[in-house]
């Protein structure tokens, strides 16, 4: 068996298109997932039952079902209830974003709960309302503690973006499949895709290790 990466390099354009697709869905799901997660996390933290119960149901449902099932549900099942079609990008983004929102909600809730009540009392003593205290005092401190866990979520989102290929969204793995089937070179094509993912993700993973070490040292 001779390795022949030339057939992969000939398809650099296709891989670039795939990389752009991967980065696009990653960015969408990162922003949607982490911001929706904050809302759901505040709902989970709330003592108001009308916020707490729906947030809990959401979190339990999306944490306890596989993300691939969620994506396929949004792609094949949801359009039946809607008057319009759902694109592969929309279905995959919905699945990955809602799944990430459920996981990050628990990170936000844990982070907010970890802040001592004295901080709340101090903020109130200064005349801050709940929203102000949360925004100016609690969240900035909590975010520092949550940063390693949120970085890990970002890494998971990046890895999950490959599942979009199951609904034929054009991303790196999908392009790898295409190259492999056109050139009969699965070894080189899939190895190249794996290496590209490693190159993207390795710095992120090292960064998360760094954040974890720094947090341990500071606390």
């Amino acid at each position: 068996m001779r390795w022949d990466f030339a057939s992969v390099f000939d398809n650099t354009d296709a891989l670039l298109v795939g990389a752009a697709g991967t980065l696009r869905i990653f960015a969408i799901c990162l922003v949607l997932g982490l911001s929706l997660g904050l809302l759901v996390g505040l709902g989970r933290y709330s003592r108001n039952r009308w916020l707490h119960i729906p947030a809990t149901v959401f979190v339990e449902f999306f944490r306890n079902t596989p993300v691939l099932v969620q994506i396929l549900w949004f792609y094949f099942a949801l359009p039946i209830l809607l008057p319009f079609q759902i694109s592969p990008l929309a279905a995959a983004s919905l699945g990955i974003s809602l799944n990430s929102a459920a996981f990050s909600a628990e990170i936000y809730r844990g982070g907010i709960q970890s802040i001592e009540t004295g901080q709340w009392d101090g903020a109130r003593a200064l005349g801050m309302r709940w929203g102000q205290a949360m925004r100016r005092i609690i969240l900035p401190q909590a975010l520092k503690r949550m940063l390693p866990a949120l970085t890990n979520r970002a890494i998971e989102i990046f890895k999950m973006s490959t599942l979009a290929s199951a609904v034929a969204y054009v991303e790196l793995l999908q392009q790898g499949k295409l190259i492999a089937s056109l050139n009969y070179n699965p070894i080189e094509a899939y190895t190249a895709v794996a290496v590209i993912f490693f190159v993207f993700l390795w710095p992120l993973v090292q960064f998360s290790y760094f954040l974890e070490r720094r947090l341990r040292r500071d606390e």
Partner: protein, 226 residues
């Protein structure tokens, strides 16, 4: 016009779904057992003071933690058979991928667990004449494993969710059964909803068991690692 839900065609395929669930449990169980054993081996190699043992183990762990599981699965299913000249069934490719992938996560759990045991336990074991491996087997691991139980259960649940990827290479797991039934009955909404609910029930129950075990460990004053 409101959509008319009809679950009858899906329920008529209940035996298919049962078979899919059985296959999901089979691949999860296989990968779990292999993953734990391999994970312990990787952890021990990585903790070794000899760099020709610890570096390769560290490399395997990093690569499998840093690349997407679906890419790994495709590599093992489409690329490896050509490389080594053997035929791979979807089940074997899935079992190999998920075993090594979960092993690389279990290895870090084992490592954290072993490192969390105080030095005095090692010293004590040596003082009563135990060799390194005896001390590890009889003194260190039994204590470490108890602290690792919650992290293990969490990983096992993650593993079960990850096994759905095997449907993309046509292994007849629960998700694959859903794809088939949905195409056969033209009832994707009902099929995928039922299958999502089945996954939810199984995984939710497993999560509750994990939560109970963690609570009990916490109440008995046991520290845990993550």
């Amino acid at each position: 016009m409101a959509y008319q839900w009809d679950f009858a065609p899906v329920l008529a395929n209940a035996p298919f779904l049962a078979e899919g669930l059985a296959n999901t449990l089979k691949i999860t169980g296989t990968a779990l057992v292999c993953g734990v054993v391999l994970g312990l081996a990787l952890a021990l190699l990585r903790l070794s003071p000899r760099c020709f043992l610890s570096w390769p183990a560290g490399f395997v762990i990093e690569v499998f933690r840093t690349t997407p599981p679906l890419v790994q699965l495709f590599w093992f299913f489409f690329a490896l058979p050509i490389l080594v000249g053997i035929e791979m069934t979807p089940f074997v490719a899935g079992a190999v991928t998920f075993s090594i992938q979960s092993a690389s996560f279990f290895a870090e759990v084992f490592r954290a667990g072993i490192q969390s045991i105080e030095r005095g336990q090692w010293d004590g074991a040596r003082a009563i004449g135990m060799r390194h491996d005896q001390a590890l087997r009889r003194i260190i691991l039994p204590q470490a494993v108890k602290r690792m139980i919650p992290a293990f259960m969490e990983r096992a649940i993650e593993l079960m969710k990850t096994t759905t990827l095997i449907a993309t290479i046509s292994y007849a797991d629960l998700l694959f059964a859903a794809n088939e039934i949905s195409q056969k009955t033209f009832r994707p909404l009902e099929t995928y909803t039922v299958v999502a609910l089945i996954y939810f029930v199984v995984i939710f129950l497993a999560s509750q068991v994990a939560r109970l075990v963690e609570l009990r460990l916490a109440r008995s004053g046991e520290s845990t690692v993550h």
